[in-house]
C-alpha cells in the first residue's frame, strides 16, 4: 500500500516538474522571439543566485542615433506637458535651438486654432495611442503636422512620446492635386458642353437648312417640268445647274447629319461577320459594278464585335470610293481581304494577333499622292475637282470616326495613278465605353 502511495506521489511530482519545465520553455521561446523581433533590448533572467540583468550592447545608443536621424520630430513629455526630450528635427520644425525647446511646454508650440485639439490629445494620450493632425506655430508660418502619441512607462514614471510628422509637402501636393482635379473637371465639363453644342448645332443647322433647300429643289424641278420649253437655252442650263447644286447640297447635309449623329448613337456591339457584310455591300453596288465592268474579289474576312450598321457604312464608303475614283481605260479591280497581325508592326506585340485583325481594301484607281494620306480623313477634304468626281468629302471622315469608335485605326497607302489601299485594324472585341 505504502509503496503504491509513494509511487503515486512521485508520479504526481514528475507531472508537476514537467509542467514547470514546459512553462520555462515557453517563456524562453517568448524571450527569444522578442529579441528576434527587436521588442526588447534588455532582459532579466531569474537564476539560482537571484535575478540577473542582461542588456544588449549599445542598444540605447543606437536608438538615440536612430531618433536623431529620423525625418520626423520626436519628443517626450512629462506629466505636466513639459518637453523633457526632443530630437533636433523637432527643434528645426519650430525654428528654435534644441536647448530652448527642452524644458518648454509642448503646448506653446501649438498654433492657436489647434490648442483645443492638442489639449484633448494630451488628455487621452496617457491611456491610449492617438494619431491626429494639428498645426504647430513656427516663426513666420504654421506647420501642418501629424502627431502620433503613445504613453510609455519608465522607472521615473510615465512619459508621453510624440512623433511629429511634417505634412507641409503632403498638404501642398494634396492641394495642387485637388486644384488640378478641379481644373480637369472644369475642362471636361466645358468639353462635354462644347461637344453637345456642336452636335446640337450640326443637327439644328442641318434640319433647318433642309426646309429652304427642299423648296429650291421643288421649284427648280417645277420650272423644269412646267415651263422648260418656254425658257431660252441659257436659262434651261441655269435650271439644270440649280437642280444639280441643290441635290449636291442635300447629300452634303445628310452626310453632316450622319457624321454628327455618330457621336450620339449608342453603341450596340454585336458579332459582325465581315464576309457577309461585304456580300451585302457588293450587292448594293451591283449596278455600278456592272456599269464599270469592275472586278470585285472578296477574301476571307474575320468576325469582329462592333456596330453592324456603322461597320457597313465604313466598307460601303470605301467600296463606293474605289468604284468612283477609277481610271479611264483601266478595268477597275477591287480586292478586299485580311492579313495576319505581325508582332513588331505598328507596335504590335506577341499575342496581339489574337486581339486584332487587319483588313484591307485595295483598288487600281486614280490613287493619290501619299502626302495626302492623313488629310483625306479630314472632314470635307477633297483631292479631286467635283466636276470629275461627285462627292461631299465626308465619307472617309465618317469611316475614320467609326473606326475610332471601335478602337481601331484606318490608314491609307497610295500612289497617284496606280491605286490606293486602305488598311483597317480592328480589335476583335473592343471595350464598350458605355459599359
Amino acid at each position: 500500500m505504502e509503496m503504491k502511495s509513494n509511487a503515486a506521489k512521485s508520479n504526481a511530482a514528475l507531472h508537476k516538474r514537467i509542467k514547470e519545465l514546459e512553462r520555462q520553455l515557453d517563456e524562453a521561446r517568448d524571450t527569444i522571439e522578442a529579441i528576434r523581433t527587436g521588442q526588447i533590448d534588455a532582459l532579466v533572467v531569474s537564476g539560482n543566485n537571484g535575478h540577473a540583468l542582461y542588456t544588449l550592447q549599445s542598444a540605447d545608443h543606437s536608438y538615440r542615433v536612430f531618433i536623431e536621424k529620423m525625418v520626423e520630430g520626436a519628443v517626450s513629455l512629462n506629466a505636466s506637458g513639459l518637453i523633457i526630450y526632443s530630437n533636433s528635427r523637432f527643434a528645426s520644425m519650430v525654428g528654435l535651438p534644441l536647448t530652448k525647446v527642452i524644458g518648454t511646454h509642448f503646448r506653446e508650440f501649438v498654433a492657436k486654432e489647434s490648442t483645443d485639439t492638442y489639449d484633448s490629445i494630451f488628455g487621452q494620450g496617457w491611456s491610449q495611442d492617438i494619431k491626429r493632425e494639428i498645426f504647430l506655430s513656427s516663426p513666420g508660418r504654421k506647420v501642418p503636422v501629424q502627431l502620433s502619441v503613445n504613453p510609455l512607462q519608465v522607472d521615473a514614471g510615465s512619459l508621453l512620446n510624440i512623433i511629429i510628422t511634417d505634412l507641409t509637402l503632403l498638404k501642398e501636393t494634396e492641394g495642387a492635386l485637388k486644384d488640378k482635379t478641379l481644373q480637369l473637371e472644369r475642362l471636361n465639363n466645358a468639353l462635354a458642353k462644347s461637344n453637345d453644342d456642336l452636335q446640337q448645332f450640326a443637327s439644328v443647322a442641318s434640319h433647318d437648312l433642309q426646309e429652304p433647300l427642299r423648296k429650291i429643289q421643288v421649284f427648280s424641278r417645277f420650272l423644269k417640268d412646267a415651263n422648260f420649253e418656254q425658257l431660252p437655252d441659257s436659262a434651261k442650263q441655269f435650271v439644270d445647274k440649280i437642280i444639280l447644286s441643290s441635290n449636291r447640297m442635300k447629300a452634303l447635309i445628310l452626310d453632316i447629319l450622319n457624321y454628327s449623329r455618330l457621336s450620339a448613337d449608342d453603341q450596340n456591339f454585336e458579332p459582325v461577320d465581315l464576309t457577309a457584310l461585304m456580300a451585302e455591300i457588293t450587292a448594293d453596288f451591283e449596278l455600278v459594278i456592272e456599269e464599270k465592268n469592275a472586278l470585285i474579289e472578296i477574301g476571307d474576312l474575320p468576325v469582329v464585335e462592333g456596330n453592324r450598321g456603322q461597320l457597313r457604312q465604313v466598307f460601303s464608303n470605301l467600296i463606293s470610293n474605289a468604284l468612283k475614283f477609277t481610271r479611264a481605260n483601266v478595268r477597275p479591280s477591287i480586292v478586299v481581304g485580311s492579313r495576319k497581325i505581325v508582332p513588331g508592326d505598328f507596335g504590335f506585340i506577341a499575342g496581339d494577333e489574337k486581339k486584332y485583325c487587319s483588313i484591307f481594301v485595295k483598288d487600281n484607281g486614280i490613287g493619290f499622292d501619299q502626302k495626302f494620306a492623313f488629310s483625306i480623313f479630314s472632314l470635307f477634304e477633297k483631292l479631286n475637282p467635283k466636276s470629275t468626281f461627285e462627292g461631299s468629302g465626308i465619307g472617309l471622315a465618317i469611316a475614320k470616326k467609326i473606326i475610332d469608335k471601335h478602337q481601331g485605326t484606318i490608314h491609307a497607302k497610295s500612289k497617284a495613278n496606280e491605286g490606293s489601299e486602305f488598311n483597317i485594324i480592328l480589335p476583335f472585341t473592343p471595350i464598350n465605353p458605355n459599359g
Binding site: S206, H207, Q210, R214, Q217, V218, D225, R261
Partner: protein, 130 residues
Amino acid sequence: MAKKVILVEDDPDDRDLFVIFYRERNDIELLPSVGNGIELIEYLESRPGGEGLPDLIVLDQNMPVMNGKQTLAFLKSNNRFSNIPAVVYSTYSDKTLIRECTQLGANMVVMKPIDKDGYQQMMDQFLLGI
C-alpha cells in the same frame, strides 16, 4: 368614292403643292388645309355628327403651336378621332422621329417629296394603307 384628305401644314408653299399635284386626282377630295394641330382639332370638333370628317389626316411635323407629334398624340387619345388614319410627312426624318410617330399611332412616316412623281407615289402609299 373619293377619300377626304385634310392637310395640316403651316407652310403656304407646301399647301399650294398639295392642291397643284392632287387637284386632278379623282380618288381623293382635298378638304381645306389647316395651319397647325389646334386648327385641325377645331375643324374636327366643329363636325359633331361626324359629317365631313376626313378619311385621312396628313400631318406636317414641324409646325408652330402644335406640331405633328403632339397632334398625333391628341388624336390617338380621343375616342372620336382615334380611328381616323393619320400620317406624318416631314422635310427631314430620322429613326427617332419614325419610331416616336409610329409608337403614337401614325400609319406612316415619310419624307416630303420634291417632285410630281414623288407626290403621286406618296399619296398612293397613303391610300394603300387605309
